[in-house]
């Protein structure tokens, strides 16, 4: 019965105190795209949309590459291997979504990122080809310019 009291107390507190990110505030809930990502590698920084979480890295559709001061516009599908990622930031999402220091995300972070990607249920080869065609690419690019 002590548990009931604790549950009621916690529930009351939970109902009373609500701040931080909510469904209404998160733009991803009403956007057809994946969440906006900023991915820093040892040589550059990519900005763009998180398209898919793959086994070995993140598939992104870039909007720019380079530093904040001198970004170069580009629109390319790139795979950034986890081993190349120095740090990440995902729009409106916090530490629980971070990848850093070349380490692959743990299962929990991977699952969270999958759910905010454009294709949480995977990307079939024919659909990837359509995307590549729309970007004027024959194949997915890596992290090199």
């Amino acid at each position: 019965m002590k548990r009931v009291l604790i549950v009621l107390l916690v529930a009351t507190c939970a109902a009373a105190c609500s701040y931080g990110l909510t469904t209404e505030k998160l733009r991803h809930t009403s956007s057809p795209r994946g969440v906006t990502a900023r991915i820093t590698t040892s040589s550059t920084e990519f900005r763009g949309e998180l398209v898919q979480v793959q086994d070995a890295g993140l598939l992104i559709l870039t909007s720019s590459r380079g530093s904040d001061r001198a970004p170069e516009h580009e629109r390319l599908l790139r795979v950034v291997p986890f081993g190349a990622i120095r740090s990440t930031a995902f729009e409106q999402l916090g530490y629980a979504y971070h990848i850093s220091d070349g380490r692959p995300p743990n299962a929990q972070t991977r699952e969270r990122l999958r759910l905010v990607s454009r294709f949480p249920y995977g990307l079939a080869p024919e659909l990837l080809k359509q995307l590549l065609d729309s970007c004027g690419q024959a194949a997915v690019a890596g992290v090199q310019p």
Binding site: C17, T22, T29, P32, G94, A107, Y121, L123
Partner: protein
């Protein structure tokens, strides 16, 4: 007696504050549209996505409502009103989860069918909380917080472990998500008890530890029909007592209980006696959850799980109903009637669970009469023993010291999430597993037993078949009618369902 003020508080809370509140789901007629009020995205087979910012209506074969369909490139978009369910590979809905000081976003998946690479999930009917193994996944040890089906039901479980520490004192356990559920693990720790060689340490009904010795069978044990079931309960041998089929079929809302009567000669000058059980639940609870509480509601179950059970009124209503109906109730005969003295909570249908309960012996009583009552066919009882030498032992807490992911690498974040009972959780999905390590002292020759103390909750995934076959006319309301419906369904399938249930675990290796 301590329960009375708490019960009074519950009643007070419900009657004074929340009585006019109901589950926030619109009533629906049979097989008619069900509205999901949360924002929803529907991913289609052709790579396009439909965004429903204000939710969507789900029928048996389509999604309808104002949405915007974006093609695979997300360049072109069109307005849509209706889309065939067969075109949908998966849906996401969003809700804000308030978690004490932290608010964050969670996503509930509704897998509609045909999801590439998820064949194993599609056939899974297994469902019941995190499972724990030792000896490199060979020995089944426990299942955790099986009744905690929503955040407000977050609970703590204590389970006796068979495993021992290795030569360096390390205790390793593999924790798996083998169900179509999302698990939220808040806290894992070990309780270490050093005890005499002839003692057995067992969790008590309130999550503590009890050391018992001099265990002997309850000599006289009869079921409700008067049959002697004592021999069946004497040994932990996998030969268990279960309600017979006739009794299950005879259950009604006016009478849905089964019971076992015990007669225990009292060893003077004992003032209490410990009953020690080895038992597990039947799959009646699972049928209740799948086929009565969630399945018939279809898409409405998304709202019920996501919003309804987040309300104190709904949670208290369900909790009080569950408290009254579930578990195993122990009553002692005194002054011409049985009086309930203890309730052992449900422990889940997968692993045999040992639990002890110390009950009072009325003054002057020489032959204690005890009744164990429970919902018909709710328990499988393998062993029931009695001890007049029970004590509360000293326990030493051993914190979680390491977590390894499925790739064998240390997972510091998971360790941080489960090291304390706080606002941080490790979330796992079907097929996930990890190894939890605890650093105890190296074995010193003394006899010791480890108990696993865990805290968390889990949420069910909504099956595609539930969306397509929803028949409920209104959201689930706790009632005895609901239990009886579950009993009827359970009675039709119990011989085959258990076999299918155990075979359909989501593979983790």
């Amino acid at each position: 007696m301590k329960k009375i003020p708490v019960l009074a508080l519950c009643v007070s809370l419900v009657s004074c504050v929340f009585v006019s509140r109901r589950v926030d789901i619109e009533p629906v007629s049979a097989r008619s549209p069900v509205a999901v009020s949360s924002p929803v995205k529907a991913h289609l087979k052709d790579g396009s996505v439909i965004v429903y910012p204000d939710g969507v209506t789900v029928t048996a074969d389509s999604l309808s409502g104002p949405g915007t369909r974006h093609d695979v490139t997300r360049v072109h978009s069109t307005a849509v009103d209706t889309i065939a369910l067969s075109e949908v590979i998966g849906m996401e809905s969003y809700r804000t989860k308030v978690n004490r000081g932290e608010t964050f976003l969670v996503s509930t998946l509704a897998t509609v069918g045909g999801l590439v690479g998820s064949a194993a999930l599609a056939v899974a009917v297994f469902g019941s909380c995190p499972t724990v193994y030792s000896e490199d996944g060979i020995v089944e040890e426990a299942e955790l917080f099986s009744s905690s089906v929503a955040p407000l039901f977050e609970g703590r479980d204590t389970d006796r472990l068979q495993t021992r520490a290795d030569a360096s004192g390390l205790v390793s356990l593999e924790v798996r998500n083998e169900a179509m559920e999302t698990h939220y693990l808040n806290h894992l720790q070990l309780l270490e008890v050093t005890h005499a060689e002839d003692e057995r340490v067992i969790p008590d009904a309130r999550g503590g530890a009890m050391a018992v010795s001099g265990l002997h069978p309850a000599l006289v044990a009869t079921n409700r029909q008067g049959a002697d079931i004592g021999p069946l309960l004497q040994a932990a041998d996998g030969r268990y007592y279960l309600t017979n089929r006739e009794a299950l079929e005879a259950a009604s809302t006016a009478d849905m209980e089964d019971w076992i009567d015990l007669s225990i000669p009292v060893q003077k000058p004992a003032t209490s006696v410990a009953l020690v059980f080895r038992m597990r639940n039947s799959l009646l609870n699972t049928i209740l959850l799948y086929d009565v509480m969630l399945g018939p509601s279809g898409a409405a179950a998304l709202d019920w799980l996501g919003t309804g059970l987040g309300k104190i009124s709904t949670a208290v209503e369900l909790g009080r109903w569950h408290q009254r109906r579930a578990g195993l109730h122990i009553s002692v005969w005194q002054d011409g009637a049985y009086h309930e003295v203890e309730r052992i909570p449900d422990s889940g249908p997968i692993s045999w669970h040992e639990v002890a309960s110390k009950i009072p012996v009325p003054p002057g009583e020489t032959n204690l009469r005890v009744r164990l009552s429970y919902l018909t066919d709710h328990w499988r009882i393998d062993r029931l023993a009695v001890s007049f030498a029970a004590r509360t032992p000293v326990t030493q807490t051993i914190p979680l010291t390491g977590v390894e992911g499925r790739d064998g690498a240390a997972d510091e974040k998971a360790l941080e999430n489960m090291r304390a009972a706080d606002e941080k959780y490790l979330q796992t999905n079907p097929g996930d597993r990890f190894v939890a390590r605890f650093r105890a002292a190296p074995p010193r020759g003394a006899t010791r037993t480890f108990l696993l103390s865990s805290q968390g909750y889990y949420t069910e995934w909504i099956r595609g078949s539930w969306l397509q076959k929803a028949i409920a006319t209104e959201p689930f309301v706790p009632s005895d009618d609901a239990v009886l419906t579950a009993m009827r369904k359970w009675g039709e399938t119990r011989d085959s369902f258990e076999q299918r249930f155990l075979q359909a675990r989501v593979p983790v290796r």
